[in-house]
Symmetry: C2
Subunit: 403 residues, 2 copies
């Protein structure tokens, strides 16, 4: 059979990151490539107790079909947490999804016709490009600055085009680790208010702030026409695949229809078990433990970068989340660095994958959440050596070109 | 904001069935409307043991992210079961999904451009219309006969149009309970071989045959360009949301890309727990118990229909699965019957929802898997009374029209 697939399948590719992850499965490699939470943080025993309790007390119900919207007490729990951040929210505004990744797919599905324009950060989360990409939009990217999106560039792009939605990770962004300041959040809300653009707030890391001032989600500054995505992947377990969408009115109605067509509902067993875990345990204490763990790992990485990386290499110093972002000198390719680093048994994700136009060739993403301090010290040392070698080689090539 | 949604969202509707299910949530109603397995059949204790074991022995791993394709031992288990039915199959041909419903969405996503043609049975599974409908195809329906699809009509439709895929539920179809005979399976394979059409075999009920001769899946007769969908929803638990797609080569490659973009992977915890359940228990014995339960319920329903329904009403006598199909005399509306039946505290699904052109107004679907024999006796008795009343009313109207 020829040309049997839909047009959309000829444009999308397998995730570059997942392909890289296969290379790095070799256990002798120190990998800063993945985006995995530290499994030592998983509340295994507490989840076991929760699962046992759910099956003992409500077994038949937990194994039966359920509603598309999700388990009501879980939705109420999520709504209550947002209320604690100053938001006016009802459980009917929460839709349970299979991790926030499914939220991306459902959002793409309800909004995007082929050729519609989507604004994203520059760089942006790779899987969002993939998910939205299935609906064949045109991407427009807006540069990120140290304190969030470039407001003037955002306003210019929204004014000059019919942008259907603006996708953003305002807190501890993947890939850069950058967080929008309070001022930036207000400015973004102001800009958005004057345009017919839906704001998509992806907030998987918001709970994992280990330094600086806690900030409310963007939804707080821009209540209408904002969809906020959340997940239990970073605070309880990613393997459960449990997230949610927070939206209202017509948008929530359409999201629910799309969810129903996509898979009827998220595993009810998983919803019940995670809910039981949440109500039976001191989750605040658990998240505190994760923060302490990641802060130590982040500090180890920043410290190692200071010691082992040469002048002229820039990097972010995130206040939360799981990633930091390195910018090599112009003309130094992170793909070349990757090849060199793999030989020295250390891995990362070349930054290019996070740019919708394939630029960013001198950038890379480092994950610190899934390596211990000793691995970070050793891995960054090796990587620093590789960076220095690459810069030296480049200089030699340039000198030989001149002479 | 105006017109913010994608075109597809202006054509799809919430599932009529799910709306009906809301009406029938009243516990005093005897409901033949849903498509729920009998929760008494759920292996609650065995699942509890499996969950405890997984978390005790592989807790951190079971709660971590995993591969898009699914847990390899589970895929091997599924492949081995197909091998037992005479199929040449490798675990790499199995992709784990969130129930088979997600399989429908992924299939729609990889194949369908707007306006592409999809052949379906007449009547067909409602959720397939919904899922595929998201990709805006044009449906062509092919009549079902007692032993499966109308072969001549199928050949005519495939010859006269560029049909991208033919979607079928060959065993104990939802909604009719009809099963393709061995001869029909061969004939369908022959017809398909001479056309550029992908065959989509949805087989959620295949394991639940309680009468007649076991038949191999369609994939056995038509190996290439067939995608077979399976699920643990009817044999273990629907609330888990665990199913799979069985396909090869390029098609599997594209399905995997679509799955990755949709939600990264199906709950790894669920996959591990269900796999543990499958290997630690006598699943054959468990399915035998389900079959015996559903056969008794099916027999009770057929027997009650014989006793309480008037002449001129037809119904199928399924050899497996969860549904049977009733055809009222021409001109008798099952929507009118629904209104009347609800007043008598009995519910079903009017058949119209299962026709892509909104016909079938004199048909209805009855579910027997989720009612016990006493409820079936009483429910069908009430329904028979309502049918008789409706036919009598209709006759009176006609007489008064004549006179």
């Amino acid at each position: 059979m020829k040309n049997i697939f839909a047009d959309r399948m000829y444009t999308v590719q397998r995730s570059f990151i997942r392909e890289i992850l296969k290379v790095t499965e070799d256990p002798s490699i120190i990998s800063f490539a993945g985006g995995l939470p530290n499994p030592k943080s998983f509340p295994v025993d507490a989840v076991a107790s929760a699962a046992a309790k759910v099956l003992r007390e409500n077994g038949e119900s937990a194994l039966q079909y359920s509603t598309t919207e999700g388990y009501l007490p879980l939705r109420e729990y999520i709504a209550k947490r947002y209320a604690g951040q100053g938001l006016k929210v009802d459980a009917s505004e929460i839709l349970i999804t299979n991790g926030s990744q499914q939220g991306l797919d459902l959002i793409g599905k309800i909004f995007l016709n082929k050729g519609d324009m989507v604004a994203v950060e520059r760089p942006t989360y790779l899987a969002a490009i993939q998910s939205f990409g299935m609906y064949e939009p045109v991407f427009r990217d807006v540069p990120l600055q140290d304190d969030g999106i470039d407001i003037k560039a955002l306003d210019r792009i929204l004014s000059g085009n019919r942008i259907k939605m603006f996708y953003s990770v305002p807190s501890f962004q993947n890939p850069t680790g950058i967080t929008y300041s309070r001022e930036k959040r207000k400015q973004v809300a102001d800009v958005l208010k004057s345009h017919d653009t839906v704001f998509i707030e992806d907030n998987p890391y918001g709970d994992i702030r280990f330094m600086g001032e806690d900030l409310p989600p963007m939804k707080y500054f821009l209540e209408n026409d904002t969809i906020t995505m959340g997940t239990f992947s970073k605070t309880v377990s990613p393997g459960m695949r449990l997230g949610w969408l927070y939206a209202s009115g017509d948008i929530m109605d359409k999201l629910t229809i799309a969810k129903q067509a996509a898979d009827l509902h998220t595993s009810y067993f998983v919803q019940r078990v995670v809910y039981q875990y949440l109500v039976d345990n001191d989750v605040g204490q658990h998240i505190k433990m994760i923060k302490a763990m990641y802060k130590a790992q982040r500090d180890a990485m920043v410290s190692a970068l200071e010691r082992y990386f040469p002048e002229g290499v820039g990097y972010t110093k995130p206040e939360g989340g799981m990633f930091l972002w390195v910018t090599l000198p112009e003309g130094i390719s992170s793909l070349d660095l990757f090849d060199m680093a793999i030989k020295q048994k250390v891995a990362f994700v070349p930054g290019q994958a996070f740019f919708v136009d394939g630029s960013g060739t001198n950038t890379l993403r480092l994950n610190y959440s899934n390596s211990d301090e000793a691995q970070i010290e050793e891995g960054i040392k090796r990587l620093g050596r590789a960076v220095k070698t690459l810069i030296a080689e480049k200089a030699t090539v340039q000198i030989s070109k001149i002479s």
